[in-house]
């Protein structure tokens, strides 16, 4: 069967790929485009390790069919830092030791970025609910939540 030709923009770069009808976006990112920052945890939308944004909306890339992304703007963890310069969330995750094994980290960073873009000054409860779809078996979540809140506090300070 003919493969499907898809034209997208990934992290600002126009990108084309060929895929099967039932291939997920996550599989294409990792196996065809070499963007292995997005992880496959559960493959069923429960763990959030494969989080990306599609047209600004946070989604699990394991629950998106690759052909659906025709014409879409996709944001992955590879687009977070600019060159050697880490995103404030990445810096803060390192500073707060908000990661241990690191498998969940790309998903948490993408999800946290999507939160702060919508809600630059979230409460702790809002952070915890927003990130409820990202599972971490190492940190106990507290360090992650504190890192996100600290980035928000710094953003507020800078805006003054």
């Amino acid at each position: 069967m003919a493969r499907i030709h898809v034209t997208t923009t990934i992290n600002g770069q126009p990108t084309e790929f060929l895929c099967d009808a039932n291939q997920t976006l996550l599989d294409v990112l990792r196996d065809q485009l070499g963007l292995t920052g997005s992880k496959e945890g559960c493959g069923s939308g429960d763990c959030g390790a494969c989080s990306v944004t599609i047209d600004g909306r946070l989604v699990c890339s394991c629950l998106v069919l690759a052909p659906e992304t025709e014409g879409a703007k996709i944001g992955t963890i590879e687009g977070l830092a600019s060159g050697e310069k880490l995103h404030p969330l990445q810096k803060k995750f390192v500073e707060f030791a908000a990661l241990q094994c690191g498998i969940c980290t790309p998903g948490f960073l993408i999800a946290s970025k999507a939160l702060l873009e919508r809600n630059p000054d979230p409460t702790e409860t809002e952070v915890r609910y927003w990130l409820a779809g990202n599972l971490c078996r190492c940190t106990g979540y507290d360090k992650i939540v504190r890192a996100v809140l600290d980035v928000a506090a710094e953003m507020k300070e800078t805006a003054k």
């Binding site: 069967m1 069923s44 629950l63 069919l65 052909p67 659906e68 990130l131 779809g133």
Partner: protein, 293 residues
């Protein structure tokens, strides 16, 4: 190599004819949060996947004279951001926004939640209480059906071959109306309802003049509980009326018995949630802001 095909429908009619042409092997792709999981698990093996997200009618919310038509494939996150809809139907919007995580909300839809036909679907009891109507397109034209008549059992709908769900319509609200949906889960987020209860009511002075009550996860399909509505209607929603309505709720429960909730527990909780949801709906009808779910 897989045999499955991926097709993008541009119109509702095209989606319905693709569905009919697939002869039972077609699956509608709205948010995909159930479909992709089922495909991976091998529970469903579609011949044709029909993506309906390029159809405006199926992905937008339109208000006409106080009535809202929600496209069946509209993402839950988009529904949650619709201020007017949230103001008119806070219970419905909160119920839809309980489905899954933030990531799932970015994709999952009310139409998908309905067609997945889980007895524990969160959006369905709220839509039943709201008196929502399902618009269906089939090879022979359109038809409409009340939400409570749409599902026929766990995982089963009353859709005929070639039919698809296009939208859900919420009726115009009389003044002093409010709704609420509450569910019980053992944790605070990311779980499936052990019991869910939806209440929608209209007040006149301090009397409830009309009510609709629904229950989820206590029977093979979501139930419209007419006995409970009757107990609330004409009352001042005092303890006696709430007790009677709670009893009516427990009386219709035919739940399963599993590790997540025993029959006895689910039956009792149905009445408890009814009382709490009715209080919230009443306050909302009276213009008092209440935290729902």
């Amino acid at each position: 190599m897989s045999e499955v095909q991926y097709k993008v429908a541009k119109t509702v009619r095209e989606a319905a004819s693709l569905m009919a042409a697939a002869k039972g092997k077609g699956r509608i792709l709205a948010g995909g949060t159930d479909l992709l999981v089922q495909m991976k698990a091998g529970v469903v093996t579609p011949g044709v996947i029909i993506d309906v997200k390029k159809i405006a009618e199926m992905t937008t919310i339109v208000e006409t004279k106080g009535s809202f038509r929600i496209g069946a494939a509209t993402a839950a996150a988009v529904i949650g951001e619709h201020k007017k809809l949230k103001k008119a139907w806070p219970g419905v919007v909160e119920a839809i926004n309980l489905i899954g995580s933030t990531q799932v909300q970015g994709r999952a839809s009310a139409g998908g939640n309905l067609c997945n036909a889980s007895p524990a679907a969160d959006s369905v009891p709220a839509l039943v209480a709201a008196g929502a109507v399902v618009s269906i397109q089939g090879p022979k034209g359109k038809r409409q059906v009340p939400v409570e008549k749409f599902n026929s059992g766990p995982g089963k709908t009353t859709l005929k071959p070639g039919e698809i769900v296009v939208s859900l319509t919420l009726p115009r609200r009389p003044p002093k109306s409010g709704d609420a949906y509450l569910r019980l889960i053992p944790r605070t987020e990311m779980d499936i309802a052990v019991v869910g209860c939806g209440v929608s009511l209209t007040m006149k002075g301090d009397t409830c003049v009309s009510a609709r009550v629904s229950l989820g996860a206590v029977a093979p399909t979501v139930l419209l509980v007419e006995g409970a509505a009757k107990a609330l209607t004409g009352s001042k929603l005092d303890a006696k009326a709430l007790d009677a309505a709670a009893k009516a709720c427990s009386a219709v429960c035919r739940p399963i018995d599993d590790k997540r909730g025993t029959i006895r527990y689910r039956t009792k909780i149905a009445g408890v949630l009814l009382k709490r949801a009715a209080e919230i709906a009443k306050d909302r009808a009276n213009g008092i802001a209440r935290q729902g779910h």
